[in-house]
Structure formats: structure tokens, C-alpha cells
């Protein structure tokens, strides 16, 4: 190879070297997953138990009771009978077209993922809001999580935990958690300095300030984050079905490989219906909870 060739051709790593790097990295990770895979899996056991229990509960409950409960929740969250009626109609149609079981499975996984995302994301967001250093550390990680194609981080998760519900849940959480974290951080940072100062001046402890002032005032923003997280986990459901998560994603996947247009469309529509219901209910709830804070900006 002539010395001057790097001018015309990119000075690339030798193929063999690259292969060696790949080999050793892959081997290393495989080693790691063999060593710790079970340990990590057992760590997630409680989560799996809960997930399975919840899924069974939804599946075992008579359909009319499920619809009544969900419609009731929707009504109480939004105080809008239209939304309640919309819920009833959507679920009737879903059941009528034979997608009831898969919808219940998807709902249970979404619920678990959202709860996990909130339980992890809100504290992380609070930590970010408290220190600029944490923020500058976490932000690039979130950037990676949001831009890295989901398939790429499915690989190590599957290598580590195999195929099944838990890797699915983890993949969904990784994909969907950034909005909660970001918006919790943002919401707390946007809390009016004057109000915080007043709380401090009256001798509020850091915990009293967090629970009594920062979180309540950041709540509209945090709710927007949670809303986005729910939407993102719904859209991740299809991809997660590739690693064995049962639910509405699987028929969609099947329709892609077999070109079943109608099956794909129906299941796709069911996902959309779920998304719209979750979105409207959580937004209406957030809005109602913050009613009295309206008009404060211009007041």
C-alpha cells in the first residue's frame, strides 16, 4: 500500500483488526451475560410476577366489568361523558373484531412500563433539576436513548435476558422514559423563583420545598412528560413483539411477514384507539387538576 493512498481513500481500520475487536467485545459481553444473566433475571422477578398477575387479572375479568371500570376511570379523570362513551364504543369494537385478549395484554404491559418509567424517571428528573452537573451528565445519555434505533439496544437485552416479557418491558422503558425525565427536570427548573424564595424564607426544608412547592407546580409539565411516555410505549409495543412480547404488536408483525393487510390495519387501529384514550384521559385529568393555576401568567 502506497503512502499517499490515504489522500484518496479513507485510512480505514484493517478488516482483520475490526473483526478482532468485534470478536473480543462480543465474547466479553457473552461472558458477562452467562455469568450474571441469571442474577439479573432474578432481580426482575418481582416485576415479572406483577406483570403476569396483572395480565391474568385483566384477562380473567369479564369484559363488561373491564369496560365499565375503564370507562368509569375515564369519566372521573375527565368529567366528560363523551370520553366515557368513546371508551365504551372503542372497546366494544375491539372485542367485536376479536382483539380483546391482545388488547388486555398490551394494556397491562403499557401500564407496567408507564409505572416503572414514572417510578424511575421522576426521581432522576428531580436529581437533574437539583444539580447542573447531574443534568449535564444525564442529558447526553437521554439523547442516546432517544436516537439509538430501538433494535440496537434490543440485542444486548435479549443476549442478557433472552426472549420474553421482561426484556420487552426493559426495551419499552428505555425507549419511553426520556420524556418523563426531561420534563420533570424542566418543570422543576421552571418553578417560579419568587415562590421558591418565599418557601425558603418561611423555613421550609428541602423536602418540604420539593413535595409542597416544586412537584405540585411542575405537575403540568411532568404530566405532559408522562403522557408522551405512554404514547411512546404504545408505539414501541410493535417492536417489542419481535422479542416475544404478546399483545397487539404480534398480529401486526405477523401481517408484515405474511402481507395480511386487514389484520394489520385492525390491530394498528386498536393501538391507535388505546393511544387516543390514554392521551385524552391523562390530558383531561392534568388540565382539571391544574384548573386554578390557569391565567396566573397574565394575572
Amino acid at each position: 500500500m502506497a503512502e499517499s493512498s490515504w489522500l484518496t481513500e479513507f485510512p480505514q481500520l484493517e478488516r482483520a483488526d475490526l473483526r478482532d475487536i468485534r470478536k473480543s467485545l462480543d465474547a466479553g459481553y457473552r461472558e458477562f451475560s452467562r455469568e450474571y444473566g441469571e442474577l439479573i433475571e432474578s432481580f426482575f422477578d418481582p416485576l415479572l410476577t406483577f406483570l403476569v398477575w396483572f395480565e391474568k387479572l385483566l384477562l380473567a375479568t369479564p369484559w363488561w366489568l373491564v369496560i365499565a371500570v375503564i370507562a368509569g376511570l375515564a369519566y372521573f379523570a375527565s368529567r366528560s361523558w363523551k370520553l366515557g362513551l368513546g371508551v365504551v364504543i372503542s372497546f366494544m369494537l375491539i372485542g367485536y373484531f376479536g382483539m380483546w385478549d391482545n388488547t388486555m395484554r398490551t394494556m397491562s404491559i403499557i401500564l407496567v412500563c408507564t409505572l416503572m418509567a414514572i417510578a424511575l424517571g421522576v426521581p432522576i428528573g428531580i436529581g437533574m433539576a437539583r444539580s447542573d452537573r447531574t443534568q449535564s451528565l444525564v442529558t447526553p445519555i437521554l439523547d442516546v436513548m432517544q436516537t439509538m434505533p430501538a433494535f440496537v439496544y434490543l440485542i444486548p437485552v435479549v443476549m442478557l435476558l433472552g426472549i420474553g416479557k421482561i426484556p420487552g418491558v426493559i426495551a419499552v422503558i428505555i425507549y419511553a422514559i426520556p420524556p418523563v425525565i426531561r420534563l420533570t427536570n424542566l418543570g422543576i427548573r421552571l418553578v417560579d423563583k419568587d415562590v421558591m424564595e418565599a418557601a425558603t424564607a418561611y423555613g421550609a426544608s428541602p423536602l418540604q420545598r420539593l413535595m409542597g412547592v416544586q412537584l405540585p407546580l411542575a405537575m403540568p409539565t411532568i404530566m405532559a412528560g408522562i403522557n408522551q411516555t405512554i404514547m411512546m410505549s404504545l408505539s414501541m409495543v410493535v417492536i417489542a413483539s419481535m422479542i416475544g412480547v404478546k399483545g397487539l404488536g404480534q398480529p401486526v408483525l405477523k401481517s408484515i411477514t405474511n402481507q395480511y393487510f386487514t389484520l394489520g390495519l385492525l390491530n394498528g387501529l386498536a393501538i391507535v384507539a388505546l393511544a387516543i384514550i390514554f392521551d385524552r384521559v391523562s390530558q383531561a385529568y392534568a388540565k382539571r387538576a391544574q384548573e386554578h393555576m390557569k391565567g396566573l401568567e397574565n394575572g
Binding site: D192, D194, V195, E197, A198, A199, T200, A201, Y202, G203, A204, S205, Q208, G212, V213, P216, L217, Q290, H292, M293, K294, G295, L296, G299
Partner: protein, 394 residues
Amino acid sequence: MADVLIEIENLYKLFGRSPAKYMPLVHAGKSKDEILAETGHTLGLKDINLQIKRGEIFVIMGLSGSGKSTLIRHFNRLIDPTEGVIRVEGSDVMQFDKKELQHFRRHKMSMVFQRFGLLPHKSVIDNVAYGLQIQKVSSNEAKAKAKEWLETVGLSGYEDQYPSQLSGGQQQRVGLARALCTDAEILLMDEAFSALDPLIRSEMQDQLIKLQETLHKTIVFITHDLDEALRLGDRIAILKDGEIVQQGEPEDILLNPATEYVEAFVRDVNRARALTVETVMKDPACRITAETIEEALKQMKGFKQDYGYVVNADGYQGVVTEEALKEAYADDKTADLTEDIMEEVDPLEEGAVLESVIPCTLEADFPLPVVDDAGNLTGRLSRGTLSDVLGERA
């Protein structure tokens, strides 16, 4: 001598990344602008020395950016000083650890803010009870107390409203009720009334004065308005570029401004409303203490003026002119000096503001007598004095 409650000694505040490093420049006497240009640090406060007495309203005033907010935030350590000592009731606030500081903020001081600082997600009553809630007082007790204070500031019926549903003046009343609800001895008020329109503002000032008559708090009041300072303050400190340029009693500042800066402030003041008769009156010359007409006329001869104020053991009695005395003398020189020959002239009260006495002073033929609460003659106020004092500002 009232005892000193808050004491500030040689307080300095330099804002920036490494204030300690540049403090020598401050001590070398460089100005705020020079320090900013050289180091990028803002000199917030420079060599502040203050003593605030128990039960007084101490006003700190100055133009925007003069460091008023910075200074008042040192009292409860919302801002820590770069150098200096802050003592409250003899204990050094800087030595407090976290718990002690929290306790201090909860029980010793409460604060009213320019932009109210109310909690938008809490109802009015919960806002007022906030200080007690922080102290973990039981909710019932806190609410009962909050309700009382809401009544005191004239907001009963608004308990369940939210701050955004109230007008500015009402919101600040809530802020005031919140501050009073903790029973803290010291009230810090940072431009508490500046955001309100003039009418509401003077209403709030009246309310504060009335409350203070019964509460006897120690109030540190910040304002950029000298009229407000003169109205509320027992003593006033004037800040300029982080330094105190003058402190003293209101009349003192009005009548003897220490620097041009203070003078510029004072120039715009409505003196007629700010000054009382007592502060401008002259000593009462021409006292007539005689009992008979003859002696009275003798005393009168000793004066330059042709009138005198008749005073006896009961205090001021009236005014008598030389002419009237002479007439009476011709009649019966040994007669007693009685009310018949005096002119009935209502005296001015020491505490009256000048504005209220302008008409009668101008109408009178001679300087009006001034009496204290007991009715004793303590001074006189002439047309000339009045026009001197009121005309000076032009």
C-alpha cells in the same frame, strides 16, 4: 433607649465566582463600576452598619439596583454575606447550622415580597397557613389562625379562592396575612406595596400603620419611594450603590440631606404632607406669664413683636395684642389679665402635618401658637416659616 434587635456590622457582599479573591479591591476603596469592569464581580453591598430597634419600623430606601433587596435578604440569610456580622437578638446568624437556620426562619422572621410569592396551587387560606404548615402545626389550628388573620386584613370570604382569582392588592393582603400568621417578631417587607396602584397602596400603608399600633412588630420595610418611607418609617436608611449614605429620623433626612443624592430624593417629596408642625416650628418667644394688665404690658415692651401668647399654669390661654393691652391699661391697669381682652386663637397641635395647617396659618395675623398634648405652649408657626419650608424645594 429601646433595645437593639437586629445589628449589622461591616457587611459586604460581592457577587461573582470568587468574591473572596477580590475583596481587597473593595477594601482599597474601588468603586462598584471599577470593580465590575476589572473583575466582572458586582459589588452588592459595601460596609453596611445598622442597628434596628425592637418595635420600630425601619425603612431602607434607594433607587433600583442600589442593593435594597440584597440587604434585606441577608437578614434571614436568603443571601450569605461575603464579609460582616449579622446579629439578631445578640446571636450571630452566620453561626447557625441548617436546622437552627430553619428554626430561625420559621419563628423569628417572616417576609412579604414585592411580587407576592404566593403559592399558586394552594387556596388563599392554605397560603396564609403556609408558615404554620411548615412548622407542622396541626391543620385545624393553622386554619383557624389563618382565618383570623384573613379577617384582620379584610379578606374573609375569600378563604377558598386561589391567588390567581384575586386582584394585586388582595394578593398582597394575603401575603401580609401569611407573614403575620406565624407570629414572628420581625417582619421583612421587600417593596411590599410597590406593585400596587397609588390608591390601594396608601390603603395598605394605612392598614400597616394601624396593625403596627396593636402588634408592635419590628418591621424592616424596603421602598424606593420617599413619600412611603417618610410615612411609615421611624427611622430611614438611604442606600446608594450598595452603601448607606444617610440614616436617621425622617425629618432629619428631609431637612438636612447629607449628600446631593439624598437631596435629589428629598426634592420630589411633598413636604406639606411629610412634615409635622413640630419639626419646623420656631421656639415660642413672647410668652406672657403676667397676671395683671400692667405687668403684661411691661413684658410686652420687652418683645420686638406687638403680640404675645398668654400662658399660665394650665398651659396656653390665648393671644393678646399690645393695642388691646394699652386700651385695657387705660381702663384699669391693675385689673387681671382675663380672657375678655385676649383674642381667641386656636392653637396648632404638634403632631399635625403641615398640609392640614396651611390655611389657618396663612389667614392668621400673627404666628400661630403650637401646643403639645397637654396643652402647653411649645412653639409657634409663622407664615414665613411655612413658606420657607415648603418653598425650598424649587
